[in-house]
């Protein structure tokens, strides 16, 4: 809601008051508002208010050619754009019955894991900042930039890669790229003790994060929570392993879990996933040189490309959880309907509202960051 349209309601005298966090607040990931009713510093009720980032992408995509929509998909989730591109491409490929060349599949996995690393680094930093610790944030963003350097080299763009295309990817990896990925991964690996010292084993942080925004496994399942947030309640589930796509079947990785289900557990799961993603990326680097062949199967002229009628639901595991596209074609050159199911649609709205009740004002931002809420996924 625009500020000029906001009218404070006259309340009878009470200890209760309303507080708006956002839509522009350092504790909010992106433009998003969270309206609180408090008693003292205790939250009585939280209401999520979205719409500040609504660009009508789903509607926009209905008016564009299949391939033109590639430019839109990464914009739906800025910190973790690759899963958006890949899952949309997977949907179009399934509708068209395209066989993706193996090399392209491995390149996609490499991007997906690099993107996960970048997104997790971003989230750690943000989470630390909500507890008043800014160094991990600077570190996280600086180290994420190194991953963005890799993306720039591979895809030509740092944030919006627009690198995947139905049928494969748009470019092969440049010469020496894999070496640079390897050295960046080594560097990130070497940074982990620094992060551990400053954040994950820092008792100030541990005490701040433990017991905040706790949910049980039953609640998580009830509320439709997915991804690291679900794994933090002890359920070992990952779309990459349990509903595999691309070449994840051939890869060796673990699914880290925690039992506590609080902000601390969620952060730890991400911390461990970082290690797993580095592990997967290293497997890709090792395998890629021996996988020759094209990076894209032949696709029609983008200006004359009808996708066979049908509907498809493709899901992937993004850094935030289960990400899915429901894509409907009526046989035309544009999608008839695209619906994106961002994981944050659950944990940035209902779950956040539920978890914030009873928590203290200073923990609200932390709860939101520990859930890794991504407002653009809600708004689309």
């Amino acid at each position: 809601m625009r500020p000029e349209n906001y009218e404070a309601q006259r309340q009878p005298p009470s200890h209760e008051y309303e507080l708006n966090i956002g839509p522009n607040h350092p504790g909010i990931e992106g433009n998003y508002a969270f309206k609180l009713r408090l008693h003292g510093d205790r939250v009585l009720e939280g209401k999520a208010d979205a719409g500040y980032l609504h660009r009508g992408f789903e509607k926009l995509m209905e008016g564009r050619l299949w391939i033109q929509n590639l430019a839109i998909t990464p914009r739906i989730c800025v910190p973790d754009p690759v899963p958006m591109e890949v899952s949309y491409c997977l949907a179009v490929e399934e509708l068209c019955g395209l066989e993706i060349p193996e090399r392209a599949q491995w390149l996609r996995v490499l991007q997906l894991e690099l993107s996960r690393i970048a997104a997790h680094l971003f989230t750690f930093g943000g989470h630390a900042a909500t507890t008043g610790m800014y160094s991990p944030m600077f570190w996280g963003i600086a180290d994420r930039d190194l991953v963005l350097d890799l993306f720039e080299e591979l895809t030509g763009g740092r944030v919006y890669h627009i690198y995947n295309i139905p049928g494969g990817v748009r470019r092969d990896a440049p010469d020496g790229f894999l070496d640079r990925v390897r050295s960046t991964l080594d560097y990130l690996d070497s940074r982990l003790p620094d992060y551990d010292n400053l954040l994950f084993t820092n008792q100030v942080f541990v005490h701040r994060a433990k017991g905040v925004g706790t949910m049980s496994r039953e609640q998580a399942l009830e509320w439709g929570v997915t991804g690291p947030n679900l794994r933090a309640t002890g359920l070992e589930f990952d779309v990459r392993r349990d509903d595999p796509y691309l070449v994840y079947d051939d890869l060796d990785f673990d699914i880290p879990t925690e039992e506590a289900g609080d902000a601390w557990a969620r952060t730890l799961v991400r911390r461990k996933e970082l290690v797993q993603s580095i592990r997967i990326a290293r497997q890709v680097i090792a395998a890629l040189p021996s996988i020759a062949g094209p990076i894209r199967c032949p696709i029609p002229n983008p200006l004359a490309w009808n996708v066979p009628a049908g509907s498809v639901y493709t899901r992937v595991e993004s850094s935030k959880g289960e990400l899915a596209w429901y894509v409907v074609s009526n046989g035309g050159e544009r999608p008839y309907r695209t619906h994106v199911r961002g994981p944050s649609q659950m944990h940035a709205v209902q779950v956040l509202e539920k978890l914030s009740v009873g928590c203290r004002l200073e923990d609200v931002a932390q709860t939101m960051f520990s859930l890794d809420a991504c407002p653009p996924e809600v708004d689309r």
Partner: protein
């Protein structure tokens, strides 16, 4: 790779370990922009030399960021598919997805490694940029994302067309090219980027982008409708058109042009003939104007004019000396390129609209031009080029030396043509190829083997015949000798009743034209060859048989170097007489069709004004 054991190692002092960072040097970043990666998608570059102004970038731009700007200084050539348009980019809208680069037919657009631009509100115009190879600020930056084989989205390869292999085609007159099936046609049509260069290049401006797209959509009736908007010789042009559209096709700059001619042929073959007739009749006037138009000669130009005029309510009668309509496309093009039943269909569509064709009526003998002048409101002369030219070398006036048009006409009319076991064709154009390949087929049928020699003045680089004609002729056993100037036809010693041709004596050609560009061949007389053959066919060009006009009319008409003088509408100096087609335009089917439209438009303009005045 490490994992943490946070439960054991946690401690209040751990963060203090980070104090060691005070001992490290701080990270500094230079003020100037960091160099971008080799693949970077920055501001656009456009190589104006390579850009053809096809505006494909504009079509694929999802953000409507591209405006095409016409630049008068740049060359413009519809025949080569070059427009003076260049893309201008609105950086308020561009999202740097680089689809414009990947779909650019010529590869002229690329993105540079330059990525910094900012300005005050008052300088917003600087966001609208006409990129050239110097970049947005005039400081050259290296290319970033550019055309590569990996990323190319232009379909460069043509869908394969089945053809009869040489051994199967040489002994008969069966059509060589199989034509596309539905699947191939859709794939081929899908390659089109809808730039419309073909429309600009086509003499009769066929709506090729529209019918290609209709074929891609599977709406073949719509395709036929688009074809008939501008060309009633649809079957004919679908097979033997000189396809200037394909020369201009923007996909052809780096790949094979869209097979526009074969797509037209596919659409025409795929739609039921009766349905084609109904589509062709759409838009026919429901009234009769009461005006009568006579057309002399039922070739492409004459029948196209008749088609247009009958649709506008005129009564049209066509006078044709031969027993069948079609003119040179029927009597000059062998069956293996254009089967006669296809011409029958084109003629049938036109006749079905009500055009009356009087066959076997030779103007000048069966009916005079004076009668036509008297009985009709307008007369169109489309008598074609039916008189074969002669080399006039010694021996060429001998009755056993044939002219190309006569030979082809005899074959088409199924007159018994006897060919000897060896023959020589003089000429290097497509007609010479038609003659040579026709003789080759007849020889194969009669003798089981081929011996045809073609001698042309031109060397191979300047050959007039299409490269594929030359290739196919050679595959069929025709020997082609470039740069040979004919000097004399030799005869065998006179021991028979009738003279028998022995062969042709030629000299090597040094040059064909003199410094002023006039025809004056120079020869190397030392390089003399005798080519053996019992028959010589001259295929060096044709002229119009203007004797049909009669002396009196010829006197009244204006002439220019033996050609009838007409204005740009096809009208002669006589108010009732128009001329069109090969006789005034030179030999080409699709130009004849275009000419037919032109005179029909002119006649309609003149006759309807007369009516207004009356």
């Amino acid at each position: 790779m490490r994992d943490i054991d946070y439960k054991d190692k946690g401690g209040i002092l751990n963060p203090l370990k980070s104090l060691s960072f005070f001992g490290r040097s701080s990270v500094t970043v230079p003020l100037e922009p960091r160099a971008a990666s080799a693949n970077y998608r920055g501001f656009h570059l456009n190589d104006w030399e390579a850009c053809i102004g096809c505006s494909t970038c504009q079509k694929v731009c999802d953000n409507a960021a591209i405006t095409m700007v016409s630049i008068p200084d740049l060359p413009q050539d519809p025949a080569k598919g070059i427009r003076n348009l260049r893309p201008a980019i609105d950086y308020g809208r561009c999202c740097w997805c680089a689809l414009c680069v990947d779909l650019c037919p010529t590869g002229s657009i690329s993105l540079s490694r330059e990525y910094v631009h900012t300005c005050l509100d008052s300088e917003l115009d600087s966001y609208f940029v006409l990129p050239d190879s110097n970049g947005i600020h005039g400081t050259p930056y290296p290319k970033g994302w550019a055309k590569s084989e990996d990323a190319d989205l232009v379909a460069l390869e043509r869908a394969r067309m089945e053809e009869l292999p040489p051994p199967e085609r040489i002994g008969n007159f069966n059509e060589i090219v199989a034509g596309y099936d539905a699947n191939q046609a859709i794939i081929e049509a899908s390659r089109c980027v809808q730039c419309g260069m073909c429309f600009d290049a086509c003499p009769t401006h066929m709506n090729a982008p529209e019918y290609i797209r209709a074929i891609w959509k599977g709406d073949l009736e719509q395709a036929v409708r688009e074809i008939y908007r501008t060309n009633p010789f649809a079957h004919t042009c679908g097979r033997v058109c000189t396809h200037r559209c394909e020369d201009a096709c923007s996909v052809g700059h780096r790949g094979t042009p869209i097979a526009i001619r074969w797509l037209k042929r596919y659409a025409m073959d795929a739609v039921d003939h009766e349905r084609v007739k109904r589509i062709a009749a759409e838009g026919k006037a429901r009234f009769l104007s009461g005006k009568r138009v006579a057309v002399v000669g039922a070739g492409p130009a004459g029948l196209t004019a008749a088609f247009d005029l009958i649709k506008q309510g005129y009564e049209v009668t066509v006078f044709e000396a031969r027993p069948k309509a079609g003119g040179m496309v029927r009597y000059g093009i062998p069956d293996y390129r254009l089967p006669q039943d296809r011409i029958d269909r084109d003629v049938d569509v036109i006749a079905s609209l009500g055009v009356k064709i009087r066959y076997g009526t030779q103007v000048g003998t069966d009916i005079t031009m004076a009668e036509l002048e008297r009985d009709y409101d307008a007369v169109i002369l489309t008598i074609g080029l039916w008189m074969g030219r002669s080399t006039r070398i010694p021996g060429s006036d001998h009755p056993r030396v044939k002219r190309a048009v006569t030979l082809l006409r005899d074959v088409a009319e199924k007159v018994k043509v006897s060919v000897p076991a060896s023959a020589i064709v003089i000429g290097g154009g497509n007609v010479a190829m038609d003659v040579a390949r026709t003789i080759a087929r007849l020889q194969k049928q009669t003798y089981g083997q081929v011996k045809v020699t073609v001698t042309a003045l031109e060397d191979l680089e300047h050959f007039l015949a299409d490269p594929e004609e030359i290739k196919e002729a050679r595959e069929e056993g025709v020997e082609i000798l470039p740069a040979r100037g004919p000097q004399e036809i030799l005869f065998k010693p006179r021991k028979y009743e009738v003279d028998k041709i022995h062969g042709l004596r030629t000299w090597r050609v040094l040059s064909i034209f003199d410094a002023q560009g006039r025809f004056a061949p120079r020869h190397d007389e030392a390089d003399e060859q005798i080519h053996e053959g019992e028959m010589v066919v001259e295929a060096i060009g044709q002229a119009a048989e203007v004797e049909v006009l009669g002396e009196e009319l010829t006197e009244r008409l204006d002439w220019n170097r033996g050609r009838l003088e007409i204005d740009d509408q096809g009208r002669t100096n006589l108010s009732w007489l128009w001329a069109a087609g090969d006789m005034v335009r030179g030999p080409d089917v699709v130009s004849a069709v275009a000419d037919g439209h032109r005179v029909a438009l002119s006649i309609n303009g003149v006759l309807s004004i007369r009516e207004d005045a009356a």
